[in-house]
Every structure is written in C-alpha cells, then in structure tokens.
Symmetry: D2
Subunit: 124 residues, 4 copies
C-alpha cells in the first residue's frame, strides 16, 4: 500500500500533520479488505478502534512516497491487534499498535463474524 | 459563529488549506440548527450540496479568528441557496453561494419537510 | 489519477463529505507535477486558489474508485483556469472550474515562472 | 475547551472518525497558547509529536458537545508529556498520553525555550 503525501496532508510546520498517519494506516487497513474483494460494511456490527500506541520516528514531507505495512499480532473472539509500520524507502518513520474491537449495532462488544475472523487470521 | 484557525486547518504553504473554508461554512450551517435546537438528521431524507460558487479573497492564517455569516438567498420546494461570507475582523476573506437540495433515502429529489422549510425561511 | 474512497472521506450521511471532492481534485493537480518530476515548491511564490465553481452531480460512496480528469481551459501571465471532472466508471459525478493565481511571498499577484507556465500550457 | 461535533468530524459509521480525537486534543493544546496570548510559532524550532498512547472509551456522535481537559504529566529540557481527556458531560470518552519534543530547524532535538518551558510548567 503506497501513499503519496499531498498538500492536504501537511500543516504549517511543513510536515505531515500528526493525526494523518492514523489516516494512512486506516487506508491500508481498508485496502486489505478491498484487495480481497471484501466489504467493510458488515451486517452484524462495526469495527471500532479501542486503543492506539504510536511512535513517531521521523517526519514525512510533502511529496514523499510512503508505504504502509500491516501485520496481525493477535486475534481473539471480539477483537484483534495489528502492528502497522510506515516506511519511506528503507527508513521506518512511524509505527503503531492498534486494538480494534467488534461491536454490534446496540453498541455492545460482539463476536467477530467467522468469515471476517478467518480473513483477519490470514494477515499474520 | 466564530472559528479559530488551528494547526489542523493549515497546510505547508502556511495558510488555511482551500477546502477547509467549505468546512468552516458547513460548521456555521450546522450551528444554525444546533442554536435553534433542531436536528440535522431528518426522517425523510438528507440535505446534499448541489453547487458551490466560491471566491477566495484573502488567505487566513494559523491563529486567526474568523466569523462566518450566513443568509438565505432563495428557497424553493426542494432546494435552497445560501450566501456565506467569512470575515477576519472587518475584512472579508471568503464568500460563497451554495445550493443545497433535499433528497429522500432513495436518492431522489424531494420536498423539504415543511418545518425545516419554515425554519430555513427565517434565515433571510 | 485514480482515487479510492476510504473511511476517512465519508461522513455520517454515508457518502463522501462535500469538501473532499476538492481534495481529490487537488491530489490530481499535485500528481500532474509529481508525474512530470516537477516540484510544487517554487522559489518565486506559491499557487493560490482564487475561485471555484463546482457542480455536484452524483454522490460517491465508501469503496468507490474515482478518476480525476484535468484539463487547462486558459492560462494568463499570473493565473490559469482548470476544468476538473471526477468520474466513477463512465458516470461523471463532479465537475469544477478552478482559477489559480500565482502570488509572491509578499502576497502580491506575480507572473507564473516561465518554466511552470510552459508546463501548465502543455496540460490543455 | 468545548468542541462541537460537526458533520465534517463523522464517518460513514455514524460516529466521530478515530483520528479526529487527536485533532480535538491538538485544538485544546493550541487554545492553551492562544488563551495565554502566546504564539505557537517559535524562533528556535517546532514542537513535534513523538508518542501517543490513546484509549477510546466511548464513541462521540454528530452534534455532541465535548470538553477537552489537559494536564502536564512531566516536563524535561527537550520534551514534555501531557494527559488529555475528552468528556461528554460527566462521561469520559477518550484519554491519551502524548509526548511532545522540541526540535530545531535542522531537525535535531533541542532545549525548549525557557519562556515556553515556564509556561508549560504552569499547566500541571
């Protein structure tokens, strides 16, 4: 998943605005589903971010080409944890662990549908 | 409706990113409803932007305090047109005409619910 | 220039938030420069949006693949006008005319540097 | 620091997009400086986010009024750590620890200017 840094991603400091790295990682997660021809709209509920632990290692700049790398660290019945790294060439500029939980439309934690769980398990 | 320009609103050029003026105007439209204790989630459909004609007169910068001014230019059965101006002090920095149309959940143009139409008519 | 609609681009109405179409068009303008190995950071000044006239024809949804098409309508010494269209397959969903002006770092309108003018003239 | 959730902040899931909580916290940090009549543009360098550890406790929705609460956890010569909590009424919906470092324009870690350090120390 390659991402170009456009004008919209930068701030007055001349670098990528800090919350946009989270967007880039989300794009990569979305793209995993798109690439596998899977929908991210589920009948049983939605995926919700629960926890993020992020290290900003280098700053990305306008025009940079970044690559996001996603691996599964752990999957349970109702949640999973991903490790996402952003590289510029060989240089790692960002890394985060993200915990995502499945909740039903009543807002309660619920089991990840089996097909999704099987798909996610294949990401490790 | 006063709006402060935060870091998130700027770009590498040191000024407010051009599409964010549209967000500021949208906040002001939202706020008109909130101030009148009205919901923007309707049972009959949604409001959709149809056309925008925008003049960028001056550039806003990080830290500026802006004020958005909204007036109704015209209202019809299924659509209305607003004039929105953004000021920094006495200086007008942005102005746009925006046409908004009401569509039902099937995606068809529909009559604006009567109560909303009455409310919008009061904005002129 | 193909653009995928990600979660970040949508709003609670289930469609692409209206100001994001301007971002998509900006990405396409950025990409024209990147594809030609040209910088968008100039020594003499910056490009600033002056006027936008935009028609929202259809709504784009999460997961859609869009294509942005950019042509030059007119170029003068200090400004130029582009026509940008966004398609989903064969269907045109958005179209805008955008006027962009070159200003120096003192904030005054200035001549577009000759090399940039030559490059932009080639877009028609 | 009160923040209203506008249309722009939501996503197709009907709730606030996860990276926007970071924007809300940044607004609150900006506002601390504005309220004290201090600039966030320094002569010696810029403040850069180094690490974020964030817990998403509840989801915020369109129209919600949120309040961001910021306290200093620790300050060193070149960096500081803040605790930021977002509340909706009495209910805590988000909490994060954020480490921010001062870097000079050459990109190297540098001492926080004394006046800024004194100001930040007052936030605890």
């Amino acid at each position: 998943m390659k991402i170009r840094v456009y004008y919209e991603d930068t701030d007055v400091g001349g670098v990528v605005y800090h919350s946009n790295y989270l967007k880039f990682c989300d794009r990569a997660r979305n793209q995993l589903f798109f690439d596998a021809d899977r929908s991210l709209i589920f009948e049983e509920g939605i995926l919700v971010v629960k926890h993020i632990d992020a290290d900003y290692l280098k700053t990305a700049k306008f025009g940079d080409i970044l690559e996001v790398n996603t691996t599964l660290l752990e999957i349970k019945n109702a949640s999973f944890c991903l490790l996402q790294k952003i590289f510029r060439g060989d240089e790692k500029i960002f890394e985060m662990k993200i915990d995502i939980v499945f909740i039903d439309f009543g807002g309660n934690i619920a089991k990840i549908p089996l097909q999704e769980k099987a798909f996610l398990s294949g990401l490790s």
